[in-house]
Amino acid sequence: MTDTRPTSTGPLGGGDLNQASTLSGADAGSAVVVTDPTAAAQGVERVRSVRGDAWRDLRRNPLFWVAAVIITVFVVMAVFPTLFTSVDPREAVLSESSKSPDAQNIFGRDRQGYDIYARCIYGARASILVGLISAVGAAIVGTIIGLVAGYRGGWVDAVISRVAEVFFALPLLLGAIIILYTLRGDDDSYLWIITQVSLVIIVLGWPNVFRLLRSSVLQVKPNDYVLAARALGASPWRISYSHILPNAIGPVIVISTINFGAYISTEAALSFLGIGLRPPTVSWGVMISAATDSMRSSPHTLLFPALFLSLAVLGFIMLGDAIRDAFDPKSKAR
């Protein structure tokens, strides 16, 4: 199952799709002969894998490059915040509380006298971490369970599908609030809370991936090459891993990229309600939550963290859209 990782996390890194395409090009199941109309006109026929083709489309899409730049900046910000600022995000200058933006503090200071710019930079880490862990986690869990349900079928599928429906019917936000309250303890270190929030999102979010993968497994399963592999005596593990999965994973990559952004937003919403991340943790959700009380008198305290949050979410949604367009044969026709 480790093979799903490069494909599902690859696009998130921004430039790793190439690796994914070589991976899939090597296996028998996913190599598809695509006749490029322009190449055919020149009398040259080329064989491309679906993903090689998608990557070519992706490179030509300006949306992809905008998204890639935004995401790269935020990832660098999350890993090396000191590259962007040398100000300590926890240094409060109370005498300058709610100061408007000026040359010294370009985003101004919030009510506690913290430098908003520094906090926006340091806040990226929490959001990106939650988004990454929950999107990758939900993708892996949903993929494994969806593969089992779709491949085995029968009563296994029926039972798993009912269980998935239970989690699917539970509203994400409400379910998360209840579970987080149950888990709430004395230990509220940074990493533990981030893990908690991510785990909750994974538990409530996997059916989303599961439904997609199960239905695309059902579409791939009746194909001749799957039958051929079975006739050759390949084990169920090998069939699902190297023949079905590479051909069924496409929609999961798209939805997981979009989920990455959506989960960042969910984390902020939970922090806004006071049950996600909490001070002294620096995160955009926590900043927005604190700023809403004073937004009438000093709107800049809300504006900047909201801007960072929205930009990050925007980046992932645009990337997901671009990947979807690249994978979708219908959009290529025109």
Binding site: P171, L174, I177, I178, M295, L311, L314
Partner: protein, 308 residues
């Protein structure tokens, strides 16, 4: 049709049981003493604690507790909240408010979202199309609580066009702004979904055939292409209606709307298990029924889909 509906209703039973048991187990796993704070600033008397535990079957093992609770719910008895009010009545009252809020959101979604989607698809690649694509991206990316707070401040408090908070009656007018905020994200998704589907269908062979037959353009788009494009859109709306009611926690909090979201959030804070389980059960039921209605609508939109 009747048979199909019945089968779907029966399939719902294990899902509802599963969700309620999950919530029940989680709520009762909440740390802390359920009688804490019920007797003011002093510990409760042992007699009261014993009576409380007896009433709520807290001495039984969890599955037995759950079965007893379920037995009462089936008879329409949701129990009492911590404040001694019957939950069923309060739930009914608040549910109408949230449903109204959901309907306002849905109307905004359907009218603006569908219209924008259709117009964008008809002029694919044009200015309006780009405008819709870009503006919806931004609407999706900006979190609801920021939009809500900002609109409340600028349209409500400063401009005074809309009431900034809701009264206890929650009139339609008071629900306009919260409803718009609640529906804004879905509106954007819907517009994009409508656009993609309609644009795909407009390029399909059967649409070309209809044009070739000499049918008027309005009929080709309205009857042939639009109706076919509505299936994924309706699916989304059905799924979304349940999600809207769950997402009302934030909107109702911001605009002080006395609905389900506010009720359940307060109940979780107060550790009022009975209220939480009852409310979430009701929400899940609405979600499942909305999805059932959608599946029944399929047969109407696409005659090839039959439920017999």
């Amino acid at each position: 049709m009747g048979k199909y509906t019945l089968r779907r209703l029966i399939q719902m039973v294990p899902v509802v049981l599963g969700v309620t048991f999950l919530i029940y187990a989680m709520v009762y796993a909440l740390p802390g003493d359920p009688t804490a704070g019920k007797c003011g600033e002093r510990p409760c008397s042992p007699a009261y604690v014993a009576e409380f535990r007896e009433t709520y079957n807290l001495n039984d093992p969890l599955p037995v507790q759950y079965a007893k609770y379920l037995g009462k719910v089936v008879q329409g008895d949701f129990g009492e909240s911590q404040y001694g009010q019957p939950i069923r009545e309060e739930l009914a009252e608040r549910f109408t408010v949230t449903l109204r809020l959901g309907v306002v959101a849905l109307v905004f979604e359907a009218v603006i979202g569908l219209l924008a989607g259709v117009l964008a698809a008809l002029r694919r690649g044009g200015f309006f199309d780009s405008l819709v694509l870009i503006s919806t991206l931004f609407v999706i990316a900006i979190p609801v609580f920021v939009t809500g707070r900002a609109l409340q401040l600028y349209l409500g408090v400063k401009a005074g066009i809309f009431p900034s908070t809701s009264s206890f009656d929650a009139t339609w007018y008071e629900l306009l702004l919260p409803g718009f905020v609640l529906g804004s994200t879905s509106l954007a998704y819907l517009a994009r979904l409508m656009r993609t589907n309609l644009a795909d269908n407009l390029g399909a062979d059967y649409v070309r055939t209809a044009h070739a037959k000499g049918l008027p353009g309005r009929r080709v788009i309205g009857i042939h292409a639009l109706r076919n494009s509505l299936i994924p859109v309706i699916t989304f709306i059905g799924y979304d209606f349940g999600a809207l009611l769950g997402g009302a926690v934030i909107t109702e909090g911001i605009f002080n709307v006395p609905g389900i979201g506010q009720y359940v959030f307060r109940a979780i804070n107060d550790r009022d298990g009975q209220v939480v389980v009852g409310t979430v059960t009701a929400l899940v039921l609405v979600f499942l029924i909305a999805n059932l209605i959608v599946d029944l609508l399929y047969a109407y939109l696409d005659p090839r889909i039959s439920h017999d």
